[in-house]
């Protein structure tokens, strides 16, 4: 019975656990409960991926109403893969949250944070596994609202303005998606993704569908912080509590990218998106700008969380660059980078959380002599940073390698130069930290010790996995290629 209901359980477990955790009230009860929930969710998503790889696409009819009348949960290798990333990061970060949140938030807010975290996890997973275009909007709002809550709990008052800006931009993005879905619905009469994909070609050559395409794409790009629409991201990441930054940075934009893929490739179809509409060209230009400009801005940041937030905007550029080719190789490079970047950036933000735990600051000054005082934390940042640069033997290298291959396959060799330039910029901002940490003497005034094991353990688990997936690439590349094929072939 459990195996038949896995798609529903994937979302239901965290969704039901959230109000129950709220009823428990006491943080010392809530955290273990939430941790248990996230671990169960992770197990479910592992099972789900296994099931998809064994049996192919799973279709689950919510409420027993067959699609397109009811809401369908449709799991294929692409969303099983993304769901695994989300729930894995969800579980690891939740383990870390126990110590970090107790330190950063007053007691009565800890419970609220954990509940919001569970809701956010449920929302993100709901977006990923659903096969219904409107259901995406509903769960997008569940995850967005809970993200706003988590970000607003940051200690600095600027967390509030950052959240407000995030809320405005996020709501605009969601409303754009809603408009786009509405226009698609009015032409086809259906909301089910598979059904939409089958019925759209008949009406694809209409101005309404062109307009729907524009609205959905712009709305999702707002959510995934593609370069000129990234305004909300740096401050939101910089001022959120450490746990929230690590979780949101490694999952939320990734899920938004998945939504883009799902809409553009599965629903509208590759031919429509890349031949009828000039999506490939537009995304490619924006991706190049995203790789170059925010990475340059990152160099001048003194708040290191903000630095890595800008770096995230740049890394999103790589993923979008892969997608802009519209080929199997390109999309699988993008998916690969979704996975690898989730690990690297998650690990780095967790390490920054360790730093904040000990020093109460993430400014550049706090890094002075950190190589001596907090060697493990600093090493984690460096290894994660090397991944961002794309040094061989790290996961980042693999995805960039594939990206360059995909570019060369299309004959776009100048793009290889852009990727290289992006890596150089990443090396520059990483060097800033390394110089401060290893070549400067620590202030003697403050005694800084290494972070507690409860924080270091999850951090290093993530960081070590970036190395593991940089060496053993069978699993990730296999699944990413399979997922890209599924997405591009679509349902036709």
């Amino acid at each position: 019975m459990i195996s038949a209901n896995l798609p529903a359980l994937q979302v239901i477990i965290p969704l039901l656990a959230a109000p129950l955790a709220f009823l428990l009230r006491k943080p010392r009860l809530v955290w273990p409960f939430a941790l248990l929930t996230t671990v169960l969710t992770l197990l479910v998503s592992i099972g789900l991926l296994q099931q998809v790889l064994d049996q192919g696409v799973i279709s689950y009819a919510m409420g027993g109403w067959s699609p397109p009348w009811g809401i369908e949960y449709r799991v294929d290798s692409a969303n099983a893969f993304v769901a695994l990333i989300v729930s894995a990061m969800g579980a690891i970060v939740m383990f870390y949250a126990g110590t970090s949140i107790r330190h950063e938030l007053p007691e009565h807010k800890q419970t609220l944070f954990h509940v919001a975290y569970l809701l956010c996890l449920a929302g993100l997973l709901g977006i990923v596994v659903t096969g219904d275009a409107f259901n995406v909007f509903v769960f997008l709002e569940v995850s967005s609202l809970s993200t706003y809550i988590m970000v607003s709990l940051g200690a600095n008052r600027r967390a509030l303005t950052a959240t407000f800006q995030y809320l405005i931009m996020g709501t605009l993005g969601a409303t754009f998606i809603l408009i786009g879905v509405g226009l698609m619905y009015v032409m086809t009469g259906t909301l089910n993704m598979v059904d939409l994909a089958q019925r759209l070609p008949e009406v694809a050559e209409t101005r309404t569908i062109y307009s729907a395409f524009a609205f959905v794409t712009v709305g999702v790009c707002l959510k995934l912080a593609l370069f000129p629409l990234h305004g909300w991201l740096p401050n939101a990441y910089a001022y959120a509590p450490s746990v929230a930054t690590a979780f949101v940075a490694s999952t939320a934009t990734k899920v938004a990218i998945y939504v883009l893929l799902r809409f553009v490739l599965t629903i509208f179809g590759v031919t429509f998106s890349f031949n009828t509409m000039p999506l490939g060209q537009i995304l490619m230009v924006l991706a190049i700008l995203a790789i170059l400009i925010p990475s340059t801005v990152a160099i001048y940041q003194t708040n290191i969380k903000r630095l890595f937030a800008y770096s995230s905007v740049g890394q999103v550029g790589y993923i979008i660059l892969g997608i802009s080719f519209g080929t199997v190789l390109g999309v699988s490079a993008g998916l690969l980078h979704i996975f690898n970047h989730a690990l690297m950036k998650g690990g780095i933000f967790l390490a920054l959380g360790c730093l904040y735990y000990r020093t109460g600051s993430v400014q550049l000054d706090a890094f002075r002599g950190l190589g001596k005082t907090m060697p493990w934390t600093m090493a984690a940042i460096v290894v994660g940073g090397l991944g961002l640069v794309g040094v061989p033997l790290t996961a980042g290298f693999i995805s960039k390698w594939y990206l360059v291959m995909a570019a060369l396959e299309q004959g776009y060799w100048p793009l290889a130069v852009v990727v290289l330039a992006g890596s150089l910029l990443a090396a520059v901002y990483l060097w800033k930290l390394v110089e401060m940490a290893y070549f400067q003497q620590p202030d003697n005034a403050t005694e800084v010790r290494e972070a507690p094991l409860a924080l270091l353990l999850p951090t290093w688990l993530v960081i070590a996995s970036t190395i593991y997936f940089g060496i053993n690439t069978d699993l990730t590349i296999g699944v990413a290629t399979l997922a890209a094929e599924t997405l591009i072939e679509g349902v036709r």
């Binding site: 209901n5 529903a8 239901i12 969704l15 039901l16 959230a18 109000p19 129950l20 709220f22 009823l23 689950y60 009819a61 919510m62 409420g63 027993g64 109403w65 397109p68 009348w69 009811g70 809401i71 009565h108 609220l112 944070f113 509940v115 919001a116 809701l119 449920a122 929302g123 709901g126 219904d132 409107f134 259901n135 509903v138 769960f139 709002e141 569940v142 609202l145 809970s146 706003y148 809550i149 607003s152 709990l153 408009i179 226009l183 619905y185 009015v186 032409m187 086809t188 009469g189 059904d195 019925r199 009406v203 209409t206 101005r207 309404t208 062109y210 307009s211 729907a212 524009a214 609205f215």
Partner: protein, 329 residues
């Protein structure tokens, strides 16, 4: 005739929207927004969307306006600054977006055209079969609670999240005992008498909307909002410290969580009895009976959560106001 009403209402909406752009007085803006909401609710009735109209009137013109007024009471009333010079960039973005949308409407099926694809696919089954499959007359309620019941669970979760968020931001925690609400209108006899008469009527109406939702317009959301409005009225007239004696914040928290859990647990029950998640057919001895029970329970869950969250949000706002007053003195 219907067209004429349409045009008048749309004209009203346009005037209100433009007035909001031009106005600088925030209080007037909020009241205009309330009018906008009410006008659109009337428009929905004209478009046959009675359920949507009821919700929009209760939520947009009711709760949203109350919350905005509460915010104004805590901030300042006037929009002080002139917007920075001519807004070329925003104007440009808006013009482009609008143009794309207008362009998109050009190939749309005409307004109210019965032959549009939207009326030919998927929906016919709801209209033709829901009477036998679900067995309740209100098709909107059938779709909301059963065919697309999972959306509604998500939506209830959104409401719960909002309650959680306002609790996090404005928190009722701490020294609420010593706070009392100096702003209460308890000493105004007319208000007291009318309030006493109205509150029970409103609660009765909420119950009617809740349980009559299967037969006519209504359902958990609308009922929840109306019930919350009744308590808000009580709290405005008699002071929120008195209102909190009737229904304590602690009880509200529990209700908030219990409503969502009830909804999700009904779904889980369907799963345990061998169906899919939220499959109500298996809940009863025959499918339509199960549907009936399922819809009743989930609507109840929605109603409880919505009422509790709306009231809780209002209490959070009111408590904040009282704290500010205390600190101001």
């Amino acid at each position: 005739m219907v067209n004429l009403i349409d045009i008048v209402l749309m004209g009203l909406l346009l005037i209100t929207a433009f007035a909001i752009v031009r106005m600088r007085d925030l209080f007037a803006i909020v009241m205009l927004f309330s009018i906008y909401s009410l006008a659109s609710a009337s428009f929905f009735v004209n478009l046959d969307a009675v359920d949507v109209a009821l919700t929009e009137a209760a939520v947009g013109a009711g709760i949203s306006t109350v919350l905005m007024l509460g915010t104004l009471a805590m901030t300042r009333r006037h929009e002080e600054r002139r917007p920075r010079q001519p807004h070329l960039l925003p104007l440009f973005i808006v013009a482009v977006t609008g143009a794309v949308l207008i362009y998109g409407t050009l190939d749309m099926p005409h307004f109210a055209d019965p032959a549009a694809p939207i009326h030919q696919h998927v929906v016919p089954r709801y209209i033709e079969q829901s009477g036998t499959e679900i067995g309740i007359p209100n098709i909107v309620a059938s779709i909301l609670a059963s065919y697309r019941g999972f959306d509604t669970l998500g939506e209830t979760a959104v409401v719960f999240t909002a309650g959680l968020g306002v609790l996090t931001l404005l928190g009722r925690f701490g020294r609420r005992e010593e706070l009392s609400d100096g702003r209460s209108m308890y000493h105004d006899m007319i208000l007291r008498v009318i309030g006493k008469a109205l509150v029970p009527l409103m609660l009765l109406f909420a119950l009617y909307v809740q349980f009559h939702g299967e037969l006519g317009p209504g359902g958990g959301f609308q009922a929840g909002v109306v019930a919350a409005a009744a308590f808000i009225l009580y709290s405005i007239v008699f002071g929120w410290d008195r209102a909190q004696k009737i229904i304590s914040p602690f009880a509200l928290n529990i209700m908030m969580a219990c409503g969502v859990s009830l909804y999700a647990l009904v779904g889980v029950a369907g799963m345990l009895l061998g169906g899919e998640f939220l499959n109500y057919n298996v809940l009863g001895s025959y499918p339509a009976g199960g549907q009936h029970l399922g819809i009743f329970l989930v609507e109840l869950g929605v109603g409880i959560t919505v009422a509790a969250v709306m009231l809780s949000i209002y209490f959070d706002f009111a408590a904040r106001l009282a704290v500010r007053k205390l600190e101001g003195e």
